[in-house]
């Protein structure tokens, strides 16, 4: 399926990681934040959002031989990862989620101290917009404006607030709203922002990608919650907050709707690179679900507060597995 103009994910990851390394050296001073940046950003994680940006840009024919275009997508991709990292640093702080560990290592505040984490987060927040400002393309104003909408007080930050305010668990609508804001917005920015750097953009295509990003982001979180059920014994916290245990049919229908839109999108628009990057992620999810299918179903069968009659259908994971199979092909 991969033809000449395809994204080599392994290679792209190495490049993005090298770009991040270069950037944090350039944008810190007197080594003050350098160590914190280095620790928090590197070694890089999956680089999911930067890869989505590169994939989208390539799907819409960005000319990487053009220096300005190449530097723009590079700068934009790093901005996404840097912004993501700032939100994680602030999220982990004692006054927020109070997490001492992230990815198996001490979280930034636990390692360096709280004011250091707060200020390094602030600095990375500013740096991400600084990097978006480096983009050279006709739509730069629109990209920056969209970025602020996605990431500000009506976007990602509102999602963080709804989560901490426990509004997220009050209703299924609030759960989806929180996922949309806290997770989907940055994914939307990755793909719509990258698309807007290509030539001959249309409003209709941007809108379809915006919608795709929404469905990817919400599915991302619902699948994450579903995979949590692979453990035979759930923690008390997981038993209480995992939405699949209390709002199973709604989760099932919402996830199905999200995946169906994605299927529809890729059938209509192609976008092989984007499909490939996202498919890699979905492939991992699929193997978890398939390997732990019985355990997951046994959790799902112990319904709580489930009033819906479609329980039997919901408890069967087959429609989800079938959609995931289509999307990872």
């Amino acid at each position: 399926m991969q033809t000449t103009n395809n994204l080599d994910i392994k290679n792209a990851r190495q490049h993005i990681e090298a770009d991040l390394k270069e950037l944090i050296e350039k944008h810190s001073y007197q080594n003050f934040f350098h160590e914190i940046y280095d620790y928090s950003l590197l070694p890089a994680g999956k680089l999911f959002r930067p890869l989505l940006a590169y994939a989208t840009a390539m799907d819409f024919g960005i000319n990487l031989d053009n220096k300005d275009a190449h530097n723009s997508i590079k700068s934009f991709s790093c901005a996404l990862e840097i912004h993501h990292t700032y939100t994680l640093i602030h999220d982990d702080m004692p006054c927020m989620d109070d997490d001492q560990y992230r990815r198996g290592r001490l979280s930034t505040h636990a390692k360096f101290g709280q004011w250091q984490a707060l200020l390094a987060g602030d600095a990375l927040h500013g740096l991400s917009f600084n990097l978006i400002n480096k983009i050279k393309c006709n739509n730069k104003y629109e990209i920056l404006n969209y970025a602020h909408w996605c990431l500000g007080a009506k976007g990602l930050i509102l999602g963080q607030a709804l989560d901490l305010d426990h509004q997220m668990t009050e209703s299924f609508e609030n759960l989806v709203l929180t996922h949309k804001l806290k997770t989907a917005r940055l994914i939307q920015l990755a793909i719509v922002g990258a698309y807007l750097q290509t030539e001959n953009t249309t409003f209709q295509q941007a809108k379809a990608l915006h919608r795709l990003g929404h469905h990817m982001g919400v599915a991302f979180q619902l699948l994450d919650d579903l995979c949590e059920l692979e453990d035979e014994k759930l923690s008390e916290h997981e038993s209480v907050v995992n939405p699949w245990l209390t709002r199973q049919t709604q989760c099932f229908n919402e996830l199905k709707r999200n995946l169906e839109y994605q299927k529809h999108f890729f059938e209509k628009y192609g976008c092989e690179n984007l499909r490939f990057v996202y498919g890699q992620y979905l492939g991992k999810i699929l193997s978890i679900i398939e390997n732990s299918k019985e355990t997951i179903i046994s959790h799902l069968s112990q319904l709580k507060n489930e009033e819906d009659v479609e329980t039997a259908q919901a408890a069967s994971l087959d429609p989800i597995i079938s959609l995931l199979n289509t999307l990872t092909l």
Copy 2:
């Protein structure tokens, strides 16, 4: 001295306050941050930085009848106040300066909670750059770039870090460096950023304003420290950290140099509005110093670690008072 094209400070303050009120309604959602924004930004303080921006723009002939030009300077001025407010909210947090009060009221985290303050600060931080992105002028890229340099990890945020790390008190050079970063950078942005929105800008003029902002910012803090000595009895903390008590000659010489540059600047470039706005502030300082001259000098006479032979001159405030008089005329 005031001619037709002059800034009416009282009127401008009312307009800026109304603009801020409008903006925070527009840029919050579901009333989530609205109350925090409202409490933290309003009633507006001196609006020193927005007024500097308006004054500079008028001194360099901005055409406020042009809708784009007017909206741009409006948006930019609000960005300055909003950015300033975000830094104060984060500065007051328990893991930073741990201040329960600001301007005689509970600080934001004391009033609303810590995660609310952290996220509202983040949201205002993003909003300030969003508003700068709304500027319509040829130099927008340069303004945004300069803003990031002034306010990021090599600018204001580094200043906050040096302060919290107690590096600020290690040497006089570090004290001036901290004032330069933590205070002067935002003042520099106010005047250089406003200038860059006017027509026919030159690099040389921008550089002179950049330098003026530096001297204004450092003088601002040194004068603030000097005014602290108006109280006959100083707190133990003030006795230890006030630089005028331990590095008197250096403070004196630095402040004198700062004020002399300002005098030189206004003699050379005019800029009556800018001079007027800054002069209003200096006028208040001058009256404090004149009214408490004897008390201040009595503190200055009790020298600690003062090795300099120019003590007698330094202890006399006359050269400073004379310069302040010139600048407030």
